[in-house]
């Protein structure tokens, strides 16, 4: 059986279940307690767990990220909420130099079982400094795991697995997905990290996406169907570790690949996938791999300009048409 939950409810359920299960787990961040979360993800949790385990912090991302790293090193399992991943920029040193490296630098003496989570990438008209797709910076760092669910069931299952993982795991959510509804299985629901999911089978082209862009890719696939183009959509779910097996198997079926993600086109997750697919499935490709990303500029505020800047269904469709036109069959 399954229930219909909103994305934010699924995340909340994951945290509540894991905090009920393991008293070492606690939630910390700005406005997570008394205010019930900037996006109401933690609604009700302060009442349930008290202020020792749902902890409001002063405004200092570097501070509470570091507090979490210190607490994790000595045996607790923190969930650190960033009001938005954009603000993690001021905590970057704690994530890059401390959370990610402490196990390796200490020769395995210390571990840092910590989850950093919060909304990532564009929201609506919040300007350049609130619209970063931060996963590209973090996914390049050995020692970190990075996940970016698109659906409530995956949000719950990945977050629960992340909390149980003995490594630092970064959970990239989306403000624009928090109200999205979806079926979530009853009972214990865990999703393995590093496993992509084919959310729509197809024959002619593979669309690889994650987080909100999975929904954009699905919209594009629906429209393409009307043109007689069958697009397969692979929802990555995990960015590091990356499930290259599922991507390659899909490309071997469709022979064409378009990667869709927010964030700038220089480097990043899409470039990593393009590198791997050309290396691992060179003979299967009938056309160059294309990427649909945020334009290579800081995000504008104007609604129209913002829409033009972000990956949209029409740009995905255009990329698919271009990759089909280039092909040999």
């Amino acid at each position: 059986m399954a229930r219909t939950l909103r994305f934010r409810e699924a995340l909340r359920e994951a945290m509540i279940e894991e905090m009920d299960r393991d008293e070492r787990v606690f939630l910390m961040g700005e406005e997570v307690g008394h205010y019930q979360g900037a996006y109401k993800v933690s609604e009700g949790m302060l009442d349930r767990f008290g202020d020792k385990r749902v902890v409001d912090t002063p405004i200092a991302e570097s501070g509470f990220a570091g507090i979490g790293v210190g607490a994790a090193m000595v045996g607790l399992r923190p969930i650190i909420e960033f009001m938005t991943w954009n603000f993690s920029a001021v905590a970057f040193d704690q994530i890059l130099n401390n959370a990610a490296k402490v196990r390796q630098m200490s020769g395995g003496q210390f571990e840092c079982p910590i989850v950093f989570r919060g909304p990532n990438a564009s929201a609506r008209q919040v300007g350049s400094q609130h619209s970063h797709a931060m996963e590209h910076f973090y996914a390049t760092v050995p020692g970190l795991k990075v996940v970016a669910p698109a659906f409530p069931a995956d949000a719950k299952g990945l977050l629960k697995t992340a909390i149980r993982d003995d490594n630092p795991v970064l959970v990239m959510e989306s403000e624009t997905l928090y109200a999205v509804k979806g079926d979530v299985p009853d009972g214990e629901h865990l999703v393995e990290l590093g496993r992509a999911h084919v959310v729509r089978p197809g024959r002619d082209v593979t669309l690889v996406a994650y987080s909100r862009m999975t929904h954009v890719a699905l919209e594009a696939a629906t429209d393409l169907e009307k043109e007689g183009v069958s697009a397969e959509v692979v929802d990555l779910r995990s960015l590091r570790p990356l499930d290259e097996g599922t991507i390659v198997a899909s490309v071997e079926r469709t022979h064409r690949l378009v990667v869709v993600h927010e964030g700038w086109p220089y480097g990043g997750v899409g470039a990593e996938i393009a590198d791997r697919v050309q290396r691992l499935a060179f003979d299967a490709l009938d056309a160059p791999i294309l990427r649909v990303t945020t334009l290579d500029v800081p995000m504008p505020y104007s609604a129209k300009l913002e829409q033009a800047c972000m990956p949209q269904r029409d740009r995905v469709i255009d990329a698919v048409r271009r990759t089909l036109a280039r092909g040999t069959n």
Binding site: G63, F64, A65, G70, M73, G75
Partner: protein, 372 residues
């Protein structure tokens, strides 16, 4: 240097001192350490002085890569090692690695980390002067200057949550007080009344930058007031004074009375590290003035005053410690480098496929090239 800074009459927070010039202890401030503890502290300070000199020499000979000595600042780490409980957590900065030696970490393993060889518990991955040892509850500091301060507050917070009664002690230099992490740690410690002690070793120089160019504050200790934390200014070259202040601050944290901030006023007698030459940025007269306040000399005068040591016992101790260090270096230097494939371990809790892929790449490249 401004001679004002050598005077102990700061109007904001007075400097707490125990040891007098004649070797006696001020009864008003004497923490009443046992003879055994005093002798142990002296032995550890003396060993550290000799160890640092030997490590610097090894670096100059090209046998190790880097070192940052505690010369002139030995009283603070050694007093810390004597004052903490075994389950307390220590978060050192660059010049407090030796706390772990006082807490029983083997000298050979410590030196193996400076070599970064097969005897190193850090497996050759971390710079010297960044030692850590889980067995002695010491966490490595972070090279960016300051990140260990929020770690310590987090560990303190965790110790309170786990109700272990343990507390955390964190260190920084005067330069780190300019960092955002110092502010964040002090603020969180104050707001949460975290069971911790934050110690700033004000050694007057951040590589080449004097404290006067680091902060306009008359003292470092006074900064604590803005965070609602007691600030104490202690003579950092006085083992007894530092021990007394830390003992009281640790007790305070342990009984739930909140954090304490300690400014230990001291002086870095040598270079910042093996990477700089202090004669290029500071006057010899200033160094000479501080040499008269050497923490080891002051403790020695006190122990002579108490009749606990003699010139003969001192010379014998010196020979014994020199031999101990020489033997440890000889033993450790023979060890091979860490196994090449070990560099892929510990990146994650479990071996991930991408690391297996990297292992394949490493193996295809063949054996490591040898020098010479």
């Amino acid at each position: 240097m401004d001679p004002e800074l050598l005077r102990d009459d700061d109007p904001d927070i007075a400097l707490l001192t125990v040891l007098r010039d004649d070797g006696s202890a001020d009864p008003a401030t004497d923490p009443g350490m046992s003879s055994e503890t005093l002798l142990r502290g002296y032995r550890e300070m003396r060993r550290l002085r000799l160890l640092d000199a030997r490590m610097i020499l090894l670096q100059r000979q090209g046998r190790v890569g880097f070192y940052g000595a505690a010369h002139g600042q030995e009283a603070v780490p050694i007093a810390t090692g004597l004052a903490v409980r075994p389950d307390d957590w220590v978060f050192p900065a660059l010049r407090e690695q030796s706390v772990m030696l006082v807490r029983g970490f083997p000298l050979t393993t410590f030196i193996a980390q400076v070599f970064g060889n097969a005897g190193d518990v850090l497996k050759g991955r971390q710079m010297p002067s960044h030692q850590s040892g889980r067995a002695v509850h010491q966490v490595s500091w972070s090279s960016c200057i300051g990140p260990q301060l929020p770690h310590a507050v987090g560990a303190a917070w965790a110790m309170r949550a786990k109700k272990t009664g343990a507390v955390a002690v964190a260190f920084s230099g005067d330069g780190a007080t300019s960092q955002g992490d110092f502010h964040a740690a002090m603020n969180f410690a104050g707001v949460w009344r975290a069971p911790c002690v934050i110690v700033c070793q004000n050694n007057h120089w951040s590589i080449s930058v004097p404290t006067s160019k680091q902060t306009a504050s008359r003292t470092i200790a006074v900064k604590a007031r803005a965070y609602g934390i007691p600030g104490v200014r202690v003579d950092g070259n006085d083992l007894l004074a530092v021990y007394g202040v830390l003992r009281d601050a640790l007790d305070r944290a342990r009984r739930g009375a909140g954090p304490t901030f300690v400014e230990a006023v001291t002086y870095r007698m040598g270079a910042h590290s093996t990477s700089d030459d202090p004669t290029r940025y500071r006057a010899q007269a200033e160094v000479d003035a501080w040499a008269k306040k050497d923490p080891l000399d002051r403790l020695r005068r006190h122990l002579v005053h108490l009749g606990l040591i003699t010139d003969a016992s001192d010379a014998a101790l010196d020979r014994e410690l020199t031999a101990e260090i020489a033997a440890a270096v000889d033993e450790v230097e023979k060890l091979p480098a860490p196994e090449r494939e070990s560099l892929l371990a510990d990146v994650y809790a479990e071996p991930t496929w991408n690391l297996r892929e990297q292992l394949g790449e490493l193996r295809r490249a063949g054996p490591a090239p040898t020098h010479g």
